[in-house]
Amino acid sequence: MKRYSLSNLILVLGLFFIYLPMVILVIYSFNESRLVTVWGGWSVKWYVGLLDNTQLMGAVMRSLEVAFYTAIAAVALGTMAAFVLTRIPRFRGRTMFGGLVTAPLVMPEVITGLSLLLLFVAMAQLVGWPAQRGLVTIWIAHTTFCSAYVAVVVMARLRELDLSIEEAAMDLGARPWKVFFLITVPMIAPSLAAGGMLSFALSLDDLVLASFVSGPGATTLPMEIFSAVRLGVKPEINAVASLILLVVSIATFIAWYMTRRADRRRQKAMQEAMEDATLDVAGPSGRPTMLPPPAHS
Protein backbone atom coordinates (compact mmCIF):
# COMPACT_ATOMS: atom_id res chain seq x y z
CA MET A 1 0.00 0.00 0.00
CA LYS A 2 2.82 2.34 0.82
CA ARG A 3 4.39 1.93 -2.61
CA TYR A 4 1.04 2.72 -4.17
CA SER A 5 0.81 6.12 -2.51
CA LEU A 6 4.46 6.84 -3.32
CA SER A 7 3.77 6.19 -6.98
CA ASN A 8 0.75 8.50 -6.79
CA LEU A 9 2.97 11.23 -5.38
CA ILE A 10 5.50 10.74 -8.18
CA LEU A 11 2.68 10.85 -10.73
CA VAL A 12 1.46 14.20 -9.44
CA LEU A 13 4.99 15.62 -9.28
CA GLY A 14 5.72 14.24 -12.76
CA LEU A 15 2.65 15.93 -14.21
CA PHE A 16 3.69 19.18 -12.53
CA PHE A 17 7.14 18.79 -14.06
CA ILE A 18 5.57 18.25 -17.48
CA TYR A 19 3.07 21.08 -17.38
CA LEU A 20 4.69 23.83 -15.29
CA PRO A 21 7.13 25.02 -18.00
CA MET A 22 4.33 25.20 -20.57
CA VAL A 23 2.08 27.13 -18.20
CA ILE A 24 4.90 29.58 -17.45
CA LEU A 25 5.50 30.01 -21.18
CA VAL A 26 1.84 30.83 -21.81
CA ILE A 27 1.66 33.26 -18.89
CA TYR A 28 4.77 35.11 -20.03
CA SER A 29 3.40 35.39 -23.56
CA PHE A 30 0.92 37.89 -22.07
CA ASN A 31 3.71 39.92 -20.51
CA GLU A 32 3.60 43.62 -21.33
CA SER A 33 7.35 44.06 -20.89
CA ARG A 34 9.84 43.42 -23.68
CA LEU A 35 12.24 42.07 -21.06
CA VAL A 36 11.23 38.48 -20.88
CA THR A 37 11.89 37.97 -17.18
CA VAL A 38 10.41 41.20 -15.87
CA TRP A 39 6.68 41.11 -15.38
CA GLY A 40 5.15 44.31 -16.75
CA GLY A 41 1.46 43.52 -16.52
CA TRP A 42 -0.96 41.69 -18.80
CA SER A 43 -1.10 42.47 -22.47
CA VAL A 44 -1.99 40.83 -25.77
CA LYS A 45 0.24 43.08 -27.82
CA TRP A 46 2.63 40.30 -28.85
CA TYR A 47 -0.26 38.34 -30.30
CA VAL A 48 -1.55 41.37 -32.18
CA GLY A 49 1.97 42.06 -33.40
CA LEU A 50 2.15 38.59 -34.94
CA LEU A 51 -0.49 39.50 -37.51
CA ASP A 52 1.77 42.21 -38.93
CA ASN A 53 4.72 39.83 -39.18
CA THR A 54 4.23 38.74 -42.80
CA GLN A 55 7.30 36.50 -42.81
CA LEU A 56 5.96 34.55 -39.84
CA MET A 57 2.41 34.40 -41.19
CA GLY A 58 3.74 33.06 -44.49
CA ALA A 59 5.56 30.30 -42.60
CA VAL A 60 2.37 29.52 -40.66
CA MET A 61 0.38 29.12 -43.87
CA ARG A 62 3.07 26.89 -45.41
CA SER A 63 3.23 24.72 -42.30
CA LEU A 64 -0.55 24.34 -42.17
CA GLU A 65 -0.64 23.38 -45.84
CA VAL A 66 2.04 20.70 -45.44
CA ALA A 67 0.41 19.42 -42.24
CA PHE A 68 -2.97 19.13 -43.96
CA TYR A 69 -1.71 17.08 -46.89
CA THR A 70 0.54 15.04 -44.61
CA ALA A 71 -2.43 14.08 -42.45
CA ILE A 72 -4.40 12.84 -45.46
CA ALA A 73 -1.55 10.87 -47.03
CA ALA A 74 -0.30 9.45 -43.73
CA VAL A 75 -3.77 8.19 -42.81
CA ALA A 76 -4.16 6.46 -46.18
CA LEU A 77 -0.69 4.92 -46.12
CA GLY A 78 -0.65 4.09 -42.42
CA THR A 79 -4.07 2.44 -42.57
CA MET A 80 -2.96 0.26 -45.46
CA ALA A 81 0.16 -0.77 -43.56
CA ALA A 82 -1.86 -1.49 -40.42
CA PHE A 83 -4.36 -3.52 -42.41
CA VAL A 84 -1.60 -5.57 -43.99
CA LEU A 85 0.06 -6.26 -40.65
CA THR A 86 -3.14 -7.30 -38.87
CA ARG A 87 -5.12 -9.04 -41.61
CA ILE A 88 -2.59 -10.67 -43.90
CA PRO A 89 -0.64 -13.10 -41.74
CA ARG A 90 1.69 -14.52 -44.36
CA PHE A 91 3.40 -13.09 -47.39
CA ARG A 92 6.93 -12.79 -48.62
CA GLY A 93 8.80 -9.98 -46.89
CA ARG A 94 6.36 -9.63 -44.00
CA THR A 95 9.10 -9.35 -41.37
CA MET A 96 10.83 -6.67 -43.37
CA PHE A 97 7.53 -4.91 -43.90
CA GLY A 98 6.87 -4.89 -40.15
CA GLY A 99 10.35 -3.54 -39.51
CA LEU A 100 9.93 -0.79 -42.09
CA VAL A 101 6.65 0.27 -40.51
CA THR A 102 7.92 0.50 -36.92
CA ALA A 103 11.50 1.69 -37.48
CA PRO A 104 10.59 5.31 -38.34
CA LEU A 105 9.13 5.63 -34.83
CA VAL A 106 12.55 5.51 -33.21
CA MET A 107 14.95 6.50 -35.99
CA PRO A 108 16.81 9.68 -35.01
CA GLU A 109 15.52 12.56 -37.09
CA VAL A 110 18.96 13.73 -38.17
CA ILE A 111 19.54 10.37 -39.86
CA THR A 112 16.16 10.27 -41.58
CA GLY A 113 16.51 13.89 -42.65
CA LEU A 114 20.00 13.56 -44.05
CA SER A 115 19.25 10.31 -45.86
CA LEU A 116 16.05 11.65 -47.43
CA LEU A 117 17.86 14.74 -48.61
CA LEU A 118 20.58 12.63 -50.22
CA LEU A 119 17.86 10.53 -51.87
CA PHE A 120 16.22 13.63 -53.32
CA VAL A 121 19.54 14.90 -54.59
CA ALA A 122 20.33 11.55 -56.20
CA MET A 123 16.85 11.38 -57.73
CA ALA A 124 17.19 14.88 -59.13
CA GLN A 125 20.42 13.79 -60.81
CA LEU A 126 19.01 10.56 -62.16
CA VAL A 127 15.44 11.35 -63.17
CA GLY A 128 15.35 15.11 -62.91
CA TRP A 129 12.82 15.10 -60.11
CA PRO A 130 12.51 16.81 -57.68
CA ALA A 131 14.10 19.67 -59.59
CA GLN A 132 13.77 21.88 -56.56
CA ARG A 133 13.25 20.93 -52.96
CA GLY A 134 10.44 22.57 -51.11
CA LEU A 135 7.02 21.86 -49.70
CA VAL A 136 6.59 18.66 -51.71
CA THR A 137 9.79 17.12 -50.38
CA ILE A 138 8.84 18.15 -46.83
CA TRP A 139 5.45 16.54 -47.40
CA ILE A 140 7.09 13.28 -48.50
CA ALA A 141 9.37 13.28 -45.45
CA HIS A 142 6.50 13.99 -43.05
CA THR A 143 4.20 11.45 -44.66
CA THR A 144 6.83 8.75 -44.30
CA PHE A 145 7.32 9.13 -40.56
CA CYS A 146 3.72 10.08 -39.72
CA SER A 147 2.33 7.00 -41.47
CA ALA A 148 4.30 4.89 -38.98
CA TYR A 149 2.45 6.59 -36.13
CA VAL A 150 -0.88 6.17 -37.89
CA ALA A 151 -0.10 2.49 -38.48
CA VAL A 152 0.52 1.93 -34.75
CA VAL A 153 -2.68 3.73 -33.73
CA VAL A 154 -4.84 1.95 -36.33
CA MET A 155 -3.23 -1.43 -35.69
CA ALA A 156 -4.22 -1.25 -32.05
CA ARG A 157 -7.83 -0.74 -33.10
CA LEU A 158 -7.86 -3.32 -35.89
CA ARG A 159 -6.50 -5.95 -33.53
CA GLU A 160 -9.37 -5.65 -31.09
CA LEU A 161 -12.08 -5.63 -33.77
CA ASP A 162 -14.31 -8.63 -33.97
CA LEU A 163 -13.20 -10.45 -37.09
CA SER A 164 -16.46 -12.36 -37.35
CA ILE A 165 -18.31 -9.28 -38.65
CA GLU A 166 -15.92 -8.92 -41.56
CA GLU A 167 -16.00 -12.66 -42.15
CA ALA A 168 -19.80 -12.67 -42.12
CA ALA A 169 -19.88 -9.96 -44.78
CA MET A 170 -17.39 -11.92 -46.88
CA ASP A 171 -19.46 -15.08 -46.48
CA LEU A 172 -22.50 -13.19 -47.67
CA GLY A 173 -20.61 -12.43 -50.85
CA ALA A 174 -19.26 -8.92 -50.32
CA ARG A 175 -16.02 -8.14 -52.13
CA PRO A 176 -12.99 -7.43 -49.92
CA TRP A 177 -12.98 -3.76 -50.95
CA LYS A 178 -16.63 -3.42 -50.09
CA VAL A 179 -16.12 -5.08 -46.74
CA PHE A 180 -13.24 -2.77 -45.99
CA PHE A 181 -15.05 0.46 -46.85
CA LEU A 182 -18.52 -0.47 -45.55
CA ILE A 183 -17.62 -2.51 -42.47
CA THR A 184 -14.03 -1.99 -41.40
CA VAL A 185 -13.60 1.74 -42.03
CA PRO A 186 -16.70 2.81 -40.06
CA MET A 187 -15.55 0.68 -37.14
CA ILE A 188 -12.04 2.11 -37.10
CA ALA A 189 -13.10 5.68 -37.98
CA PRO A 190 -12.19 7.15 -34.57
CA SER A 191 -8.65 5.85 -34.78
CA LEU A 192 -8.35 7.14 -38.34
CA ALA A 193 -9.35 10.56 -37.07
CA ALA A 194 -6.91 10.25 -34.16
CA GLY A 195 -4.12 9.21 -36.53
CA GLY A 196 -4.90 12.14 -38.80
CA MET A 197 -4.83 14.60 -35.91
CA LEU A 198 -1.57 13.13 -34.66
CA SER A 199 0.00 13.41 -38.12
CA PHE A 200 -1.19 16.99 -38.41
CA ALA A 201 0.37 17.86 -35.06
CA LEU A 202 3.64 16.04 -35.75
CA SER A 203 4.01 17.65 -39.16
CA LEU A 204 3.27 21.08 -37.72
CA ASP A 205 5.95 20.51 -35.06
CA ASP A 206 8.78 19.09 -37.10
CA LEU A 207 11.99 21.06 -37.34
CA VAL A 208 14.80 18.64 -38.17
CA LEU A 209 13.36 16.78 -41.17
CA ALA A 210 12.03 19.98 -42.69
CA SER A 211 15.40 21.73 -42.30
CA PHE A 212 17.16 18.97 -44.21
CA VAL A 213 14.76 18.46 -47.10
CA SER A 214 13.48 22.00 -47.51
CA GLY A 215 14.60 24.30 -50.28
CA PRO A 216 14.76 28.02 -50.90
CA GLY A 217 11.58 29.88 -50.03
CA ALA A 218 10.05 26.90 -48.20
CA THR A 219 10.68 27.94 -44.62
CA THR A 220 8.18 26.32 -42.27
CA LEU A 221 7.05 27.70 -38.93
CA PRO A 222 9.38 25.58 -36.75
CA MET A 223 12.33 26.62 -38.93
CA GLU A 224 11.34 30.25 -38.50
CA ILE A 225 10.99 29.81 -34.74
CA PHE A 226 14.27 27.95 -34.47
CA SER A 227 16.29 30.66 -36.14
CA ALA A 228 14.74 33.23 -33.79
CA VAL A 229 15.11 31.04 -30.68
CA ARG A 230 18.81 30.47 -31.28
CA LEU A 231 19.32 34.12 -30.42
CA GLY A 232 17.46 33.82 -27.13
CA VAL A 233 14.02 34.17 -25.58
CA LYS A 234 11.74 36.73 -27.21
CA PRO A 235 8.19 37.80 -26.33
CA GLU A 236 6.95 37.34 -29.92
CA ILE A 237 8.16 33.75 -29.89
CA ASN A 238 6.41 33.20 -26.56
CA ALA A 239 3.17 34.22 -28.27
CA VAL A 240 3.71 31.94 -31.31
CA ALA A 241 4.72 29.03 -29.09
CA SER A 242 1.61 29.51 -26.94
CA LEU A 243 -0.59 29.50 -30.03
CA ILE A 244 1.01 26.27 -31.25
CA LEU A 245 0.48 24.74 -27.81
CA LEU A 246 -3.17 25.77 -28.02
CA VAL A 247 -3.68 24.29 -31.50
CA VAL A 248 -1.93 21.04 -30.62
CA SER A 249 -3.81 20.64 -27.34
CA ILE A 250 -7.11 21.12 -29.14
CA ALA A 251 -6.10 18.52 -31.74
CA THR A 252 -5.06 16.08 -29.01
CA PHE A 253 -8.24 16.67 -27.09
CA ILE A 254 -10.47 16.10 -30.12
CA ALA A 255 -8.64 12.90 -31.01
CA TRP A 256 -8.82 11.68 -27.43
CA TYR A 257 -12.50 12.58 -27.14
CA MET A 258 -13.42 10.77 -30.34
CA THR A 259 -11.67 7.54 -29.43
CA ARG A 260 -13.12 7.68 -25.94
CA ARG A 261 -16.65 8.21 -27.19
CA ALA A 262 -16.29 5.31 -29.58
CA ASP A 263 -14.97 3.13 -26.76
CA ARG A 264 -17.89 4.02 -24.54
CA ARG A 265 -20.41 3.35 -27.25
CA ARG A 266 -18.87 -0.02 -27.91
CA GLN A 267 -18.84 -0.91 -24.21
CA LYS A 268 -22.44 0.13 -23.87
CA ALA A 269 -23.48 -1.85 -26.91
CA MET A 270 -21.66 -4.89 -25.60
CA GLN A 271 -23.25 -4.54 -22.20
CA GLU A 272 -26.70 -4.25 -23.69
CA ALA A 273 -26.12 -7.20 -25.93
CA MET A 274 -25.07 -9.26 -22.93
CA GLU A 275 -28.07 -8.14 -20.91
CA ASP A 276 -30.36 -9.02 -23.77
CA ALA A 277 -28.78 -12.41 -23.97
CA THR A 278 -29.32 -13.13 -20.27
CA LEU A 279 -32.88 -11.87 -20.47
CA ASP A 280 -33.58 -14.13 -23.39
CA VAL A 281 -32.46 -17.00 -21.29
CA ALA A 282 -34.45 -15.86 -18.27
CA GLY A 283 -37.78 -15.46 -19.93
CA PRO A 284 -39.42 -15.36 -23.33
CA SER A 285 -41.14 -12.01 -22.76
CA GLY A 286 -38.14 -10.10 -24.07
CA ARG A 287 -36.86 -6.91 -22.62
CA PRO A 288 -38.88 -5.45 -19.73
CA THR A 289 -39.40 -1.71 -19.91
CA MET A 290 -38.34 -0.99 -16.34
CA LEU A 291 -34.78 -2.19 -16.66
CA PRO A 292 -32.27 -0.29 -14.48
CA PRO A 293 -29.87 1.76 -16.62
CA PRO A 294 -26.47 0.24 -17.36
CA ALA A 295 -23.90 1.13 -14.73
CA HIS A 296 -21.65 3.13 -17.04
CA SER A 297 -24.02 5.43 -18.89
Partner: protein
Protein backbone atom coordinates in the same frame (compact mmCIF):
# COMPACT_ATOMS: atom_id res chain seq x y z
CA UNK B 1 -14.03 -15.16 -60.21
CA UNK B 2 -13.29 -13.15 -57.16
CA UNK B 3 -9.95 -14.82 -56.72
CA UNK B 4 -7.91 -12.66 -59.13
CA UNK B 5 -9.42 -9.41 -57.83
CA UNK B 6 -8.60 -10.44 -54.31
CA UNK B 7 -5.05 -11.18 -55.28
CA UNK B 8 -4.77 -7.94 -57.15
CA UNK B 9 -6.28 -6.02 -54.23
CA UNK B 10 -4.03 -7.80 -51.81
CA UNK B 11 -0.97 -7.01 -53.87
CA UNK B 12 -2.03 -3.39 -54.13
CA UNK B 13 -2.67 -2.98 -50.42
CA UNK B 14 0.69 -4.54 -49.57
CA UNK B 15 2.51 -2.92 -52.45
CA UNK B 16 1.66 0.74 -52.00
CA UNK B 17 2.97 1.16 -48.43
CA UNK B 18 5.81 -1.28 -49.12
CA UNK B 19 7.07 0.61 -52.15
CA UNK B 20 6.68 3.95 -50.38
CA UNK B 21 8.67 2.78 -47.35
CA UNK B 22 11.38 1.12 -49.42
CA UNK B 23 11.71 4.18 -51.61
CA UNK B 24 11.60 6.84 -48.92
CA UNK B 25 12.94 5.01 -45.88
CA UNK B 26 15.19 2.09 -46.85
CA UNK B 27 16.73 3.29 -50.12
CA UNK B 28 17.91 6.59 -48.56
CA UNK B 29 20.09 4.65 -46.10
CA UNK B 30 21.81 2.88 -48.95
CA UNK B 31 22.49 6.23 -50.58
CA UNK B 32 23.88 7.55 -47.30
CA UNK B 33 26.18 4.55 -47.15
CA UNK B 34 27.30 5.22 -50.71
CA UNK B 35 27.98 8.89 -50.15
CA UNK B 36 29.92 8.17 -46.98
CA UNK B 37 32.50 6.56 -49.28
CA UNK B 38 32.77 9.59 -51.52
CA UNK B 39 34.90 12.68 -51.16
CA UNK B 40 33.79 16.21 -50.51
CA UNK B 41 34.12 18.36 -53.61
CA UNK B 42 33.34 21.88 -54.64
CA UNK B 43 30.45 20.97 -56.88
CA UNK B 44 26.71 20.58 -56.97
CA UNK B 45 26.01 18.24 -55.22
CA UNK B 46 29.16 18.67 -53.11
CA UNK B 47 30.68 15.20 -53.36
CA UNK B 48 32.45 12.97 -55.85
CA UNK B 49 30.86 9.99 -57.55
CA UNK B 50 31.51 6.53 -56.17
CA UNK B 51 30.34 4.68 -59.24
CA UNK B 52 31.43 5.84 -62.66
CA UNK B 53 31.63 4.49 -66.21
CA UNK B 54 35.10 4.92 -67.56
CA UNK B 55 35.73 3.43 -70.99
CA UNK B 56 32.56 1.36 -70.67
CA UNK B 57 33.76 -0.26 -67.50
CA UNK B 58 32.13 0.25 -64.16
CA UNK B 59 34.56 1.98 -61.93
CA UNK B 60 34.04 2.01 -58.20
CA UNK B 61 36.05 4.47 -56.20
CA UNK B 62 35.65 3.70 -52.55
CA UNK B 63 37.19 6.21 -50.32
CA UNK B 64 37.58 5.35 -46.67
CA UNK B 65 39.01 8.79 -45.98
CA UNK B 66 35.93 9.99 -44.12
CA UNK B 67 36.03 7.09 -41.69
CA UNK B 68 39.76 7.47 -41.15
CA UNK B 69 39.22 11.17 -40.59
CA UNK B 70 36.48 10.45 -38.05
CA UNK B 71 38.61 7.92 -36.19
CA UNK B 72 41.59 10.26 -36.00
CA UNK B 73 39.80 13.28 -34.65
CA UNK B 74 38.97 12.83 -30.97
CA UNK B 75 36.08 15.26 -31.25
CA UNK B 76 33.92 12.67 -33.00
CA UNK B 77 34.65 9.85 -30.59
CA UNK B 78 33.89 12.22 -27.72
CA UNK B 79 30.64 13.19 -29.40
CA UNK B 80 29.57 9.54 -29.77
CA UNK B 81 30.45 8.75 -26.18
CA UNK B 82 28.75 11.95 -25.04
CA UNK B 83 25.54 11.02 -26.88
CA UNK B 84 25.57 7.49 -25.48
CA UNK B 85 26.15 8.78 -21.96
CA UNK B 86 23.35 11.34 -22.14
CA UNK B 87 21.01 8.76 -23.69
CA UNK B 88 21.86 6.10 -21.12
CA UNK B 89 21.57 8.32 -18.05
CA UNK B 90 18.36 9.99 -19.20
CA UNK B 91 16.77 6.67 -20.17
CA UNK B 92 17.49 5.44 -16.66
CA UNK B 93 16.10 8.65 -15.16
CA UNK B 94 12.97 8.41 -17.34
CA UNK B 95 12.48 4.79 -16.26
CA UNK B 96 12.85 5.65 -12.56
CA UNK B 97 10.35 8.51 -12.82
CA UNK B 98 8.14 6.99 -15.49
CA UNK B 99 7.58 3.55 -13.97
CA UNK B 100 5.88 4.80 -10.79
CA UNK B 101 3.83 7.23 -12.89
CA UNK B 102 2.64 4.48 -15.24
CA UNK B 103 2.00 2.22 -12.25
CA UNK B 104 -0.11 4.86 -10.52
CA UNK B 105 -2.13 5.51 -13.70
CA UNK B 106 -2.73 1.80 -14.27
CA UNK B 107 -4.03 1.51 -10.68
CA UNK B 108 -6.24 4.59 -10.87
CA UNK B 109 -10.03 4.55 -11.34
CA UNK B 110 -11.06 3.83 -14.95
CA UNK B 111 -12.47 7.28 -15.70
CA UNK B 112 -9.48 8.96 -14.07
CA UNK B 113 -7.16 6.80 -16.17
CA UNK B 114 -8.37 8.25 -19.47
CA UNK B 115 -7.88 11.81 -18.21
CA UNK B 116 -4.40 11.05 -16.88
CA UNK B 117 -3.50 9.38 -20.17
CA UNK B 118 -4.63 12.44 -22.06
CA UNK B 119 -2.40 14.58 -19.82
CA UNK B 120 0.59 12.34 -20.55
CA UNK B 121 -0.19 12.11 -24.26
CA UNK B 122 -0.66 15.82 -24.89
CA UNK B 123 3.06 16.73 -24.65
CA UNK B 124 4.08 13.96 -27.07
CA UNK B 125 2.09 15.80 -29.73
CA UNK B 126 3.79 19.10 -29.01
CA UNK B 127 7.04 20.14 -30.62
CA UNK B 128 10.17 19.37 -28.67
CA UNK B 129 11.33 22.74 -29.97
CA UNK B 130 8.62 24.56 -28.05
CA UNK B 131 8.96 22.56 -24.86
CA UNK B 132 12.71 23.07 -24.89
CA UNK B 133 12.20 26.74 -25.57
CA UNK B 134 10.03 26.96 -22.45
CA UNK B 135 13.01 25.72 -20.41
CA UNK B 136 15.30 28.36 -21.89
CA UNK B 137 13.19 31.03 -20.24
CA UNK B 138 13.23 29.18 -16.95
CA UNK B 139 16.89 28.21 -16.70
CA UNK B 140 18.69 31.26 -18.09
CA UNK B 141 20.80 33.29 -15.68
CA UNK B 142 18.12 35.99 -15.49
CA UNK B 143 15.39 33.40 -15.85
CA UNK B 144 12.48 32.55 -13.62
CA UNK B 145 14.25 29.88 -11.58
CA UNK B 146 17.17 32.12 -10.71
CA UNK B 147 14.86 35.07 -9.96
CA UNK B 148 12.88 32.84 -7.63
CA UNK B 149 15.92 31.47 -5.82
CA UNK B 150 17.43 34.96 -5.52
CA UNK B 151 14.13 36.32 -4.26
CA UNK B 152 13.92 33.63 -1.62
CA UNK B 153 17.49 34.41 -0.60
CA UNK B 154 18.65 30.85 -1.21
CA UNK B 155 21.46 31.95 -3.51
CA UNK B 156 23.45 35.18 -3.75
CA UNK B 157 24.22 35.17 -7.43
CA UNK B 158 22.45 33.51 -10.35
CA UNK B 159 23.32 29.89 -11.01
CA UNK B 160 24.53 29.04 -14.46
CA UNK B 161 22.28 26.20 -15.56
CA UNK B 162 21.39 27.06 -19.15
CA UNK B 163 24.08 25.93 -21.60
CA UNK B 164 25.41 23.26 -19.29
CA UNK B 165 25.14 19.49 -19.33
CA UNK B 166 22.61 19.65 -16.48
CA UNK B 167 20.25 21.65 -18.68
CA UNK B 168 20.58 18.99 -21.41
CA UNK B 169 19.61 16.27 -18.94
CA UNK B 170 16.64 18.29 -17.70
CA UNK B 171 15.53 18.92 -21.28
CA UNK B 172 15.91 15.32 -22.39
CA UNK B 173 14.12 13.79 -19.40
CA UNK B 174 11.41 16.41 -19.71
CA UNK B 175 10.86 15.85 -23.42
CA UNK B 176 11.02 12.06 -23.44
CA UNK B 177 9.29 11.15 -20.17
CA UNK B 178 5.87 10.66 -21.83
CA UNK B 179 7.38 8.20 -24.31
CA UNK B 180 8.46 6.08 -21.35
CA UNK B 181 5.16 6.31 -19.49
CA UNK B 182 2.85 5.40 -22.41
CA UNK B 183 4.22 1.92 -23.30
CA UNK B 184 4.72 1.09 -19.62
CA UNK B 185 1.11 1.99 -18.89
CA UNK B 186 -0.12 -0.03 -21.87
CA UNK B 187 1.71 -3.02 -20.40
CA UNK B 188 0.90 -2.53 -16.71
CA UNK B 189 -2.82 -2.05 -17.27
CA UNK B 190 -3.10 -5.53 -18.79
CA UNK B 191 -1.75 -7.26 -15.68
CA UNK B 192 -4.08 -9.62 -13.92
CA UNK B 193 -4.70 -8.34 -10.38
CA UNK B 194 -5.51 -11.85 -9.20
CA UNK B 195 -1.83 -12.77 -9.49
CA UNK B 196 -0.92 -10.17 -6.89
CA UNK B 197 -3.81 -11.29 -4.69
CA UNK B 198 -2.67 -14.88 -4.93
CA UNK B 199 0.85 -13.82 -3.98
CA UNK B 200 -0.38 -11.89 -0.98
CA UNK B 201 -2.64 -14.78 0.05
CA UNK B 202 0.42 -16.98 -0.02
CA UNK B 203 2.15 -14.54 2.30
CA UNK B 204 4.29 -12.47 -0.06
CA UNK B 205 4.80 -8.89 1.01
CA UNK B 206 3.84 -6.07 -1.39
CA UNK B 207 7.42 -5.25 -2.24
CA UNK B 208 8.30 -8.88 -2.88
CA UNK B 209 5.38 -9.44 -5.20
CA UNK B 210 6.16 -6.16 -6.97
CA UNK B 211 9.70 -7.31 -7.76
CA UNK B 212 8.83 -10.94 -8.41
CA UNK B 213 5.59 -10.49 -10.38
CA UNK B 214 4.91 -6.96 -11.63
CA UNK B 215 8.42 -6.07 -12.81
CA UNK B 216 9.12 -9.33 -14.70
CA UNK B 217 5.68 -9.21 -16.33
CA UNK B 218 6.28 -5.67 -17.52
CA UNK B 219 9.54 -6.57 -19.26
CA UNK B 220 8.20 -5.83 -22.75
CA UNK B 221 6.86 -2.48 -21.63
CA UNK B 222 10.22 -1.59 -20.08
CA UNK B 223 12.06 -2.55 -23.26
CA UNK B 224 9.66 -0.57 -25.48
CA UNK B 225 9.82 2.50 -23.23
CA UNK B 226 13.61 2.43 -22.91
CA UNK B 227 14.10 2.04 -26.66
CA UNK B 228 11.62 4.82 -27.43
CA UNK B 229 13.76 7.09 -25.25
CA UNK B 230 17.29 5.82 -25.84
CA UNK B 231 17.37 5.60 -29.64
CA UNK B 232 16.04 9.06 -30.53
CA UNK B 233 18.05 10.71 -27.74
CA UNK B 234 21.33 9.41 -29.19
CA UNK B 235 20.60 11.42 -32.32
CA UNK B 236 18.97 14.36 -30.56
CA UNK B 237 19.82 17.74 -32.02
CA UNK B 238 17.42 20.39 -30.74
CA UNK B 239 18.03 19.85 -27.02
CA UNK B 240 21.86 20.00 -27.00
CA UNK B 241 21.74 22.89 -29.46
CA UNK B 242 19.40 25.06 -27.41
CA UNK B 243 20.08 23.98 -23.82
CA UNK B 244 23.63 22.65 -24.04
CA UNK B 245 26.81 24.65 -24.02
CA UNK B 246 29.96 24.48 -26.10
CA UNK B 247 31.25 21.60 -23.98
CA UNK B 248 28.14 19.48 -24.66
CA UNK B 249 29.20 17.18 -27.45
CA UNK B 250 26.45 15.11 -28.98
CA UNK B 251 26.57 13.37 -32.30
CA UNK B 252 23.31 14.77 -33.66
CA UNK B 253 24.59 18.29 -33.15
CA UNK B 254 27.98 17.47 -34.72
CA UNK B 255 26.26 15.92 -37.74
CA UNK B 256 24.10 19.00 -38.14
CA UNK B 257 27.13 21.27 -38.00
CA UNK B 258 29.08 19.17 -40.49
CA UNK B 259 26.16 19.31 -42.87
CA UNK B 260 24.84 22.84 -42.51
CA UNK B 261 27.92 24.80 -41.36
CA UNK B 262 30.85 22.97 -42.97
CA UNK B 263 28.78 21.70 -45.90
CA UNK B 264 30.75 18.48 -45.81
CA UNK B 265 28.10 16.01 -46.94
CA UNK B 266 30.31 12.89 -47.07
CA UNK B 267 31.52 13.37 -43.49
CA UNK B 268 27.94 13.97 -42.34
CA UNK B 269 26.93 10.78 -44.17
CA UNK B 270 29.66 8.73 -42.50
CA UNK B 271 28.63 10.13 -39.11
CA UNK B 272 25.09 8.95 -39.86
CA UNK B 273 26.34 5.52 -40.91
CA UNK B 274 28.31 5.11 -37.69
CA UNK B 275 25.37 6.32 -35.60
CA UNK B 276 23.12 3.84 -37.32
CA UNK B 277 25.67 1.07 -36.71
CA UNK B 278 25.58 1.81 -32.99
CA UNK B 279 21.79 1.98 -32.97
CA UNK B 280 21.22 -1.11 -35.09
CA UNK B 281 21.08 -3.50 -32.14
CA UNK B 282 18.66 -1.35 -30.10
CA UNK B 283 16.47 -0.76 -33.17
CA UNK B 284 16.27 -4.48 -33.96
CA UNK B 285 15.50 -5.14 -30.31
CA UNK B 286 12.70 -2.58 -30.46
CA UNK B 287 11.28 -3.99 -33.70
CA UNK B 288 11.28 -7.53 -32.40
CA UNK B 289 9.65 -6.39 -29.20
CA UNK B 290 6.94 -4.61 -31.19
CA UNK B 291 6.45 -7.67 -33.38
CA UNK B 292 6.13 -9.86 -30.29
CA UNK B 293 3.50 -7.58 -28.80
CA UNK B 294 1.71 -7.71 -32.12
CA UNK B 295 1.81 -11.48 -32.52
CA UNK B 296 0.79 -11.96 -28.91
CA UNK B 297 -2.48 -10.24 -29.59
CA UNK B 298 -3.23 -11.71 -32.97
Amino acid sequence: MSRPTLNFGRRLVIGVPFVWLVLFFLLPFIIVLKISFSEAAVAIPPYTEVFGYVEQKLQIVINLGNYIFLSEDELYLAAYLGSLKVAFVSTLACLLIGYPMAYAIARARKDLQTVLLLLIMMPTWTAILIRVYAWMGILSSNGILNELLLGLGLIDEPLRILNTELAVYIGVVYSYLPFMVLPLYANLVKHDASLLEAASDLGARDLTSFWKITVPLSKNGIIAGCMLVFIPVVGEFVIPELLGGPETLMIGKVLWQEFFNNRDWPVAASLAVLMLAILLVPIILFNRNQAKELEGKL
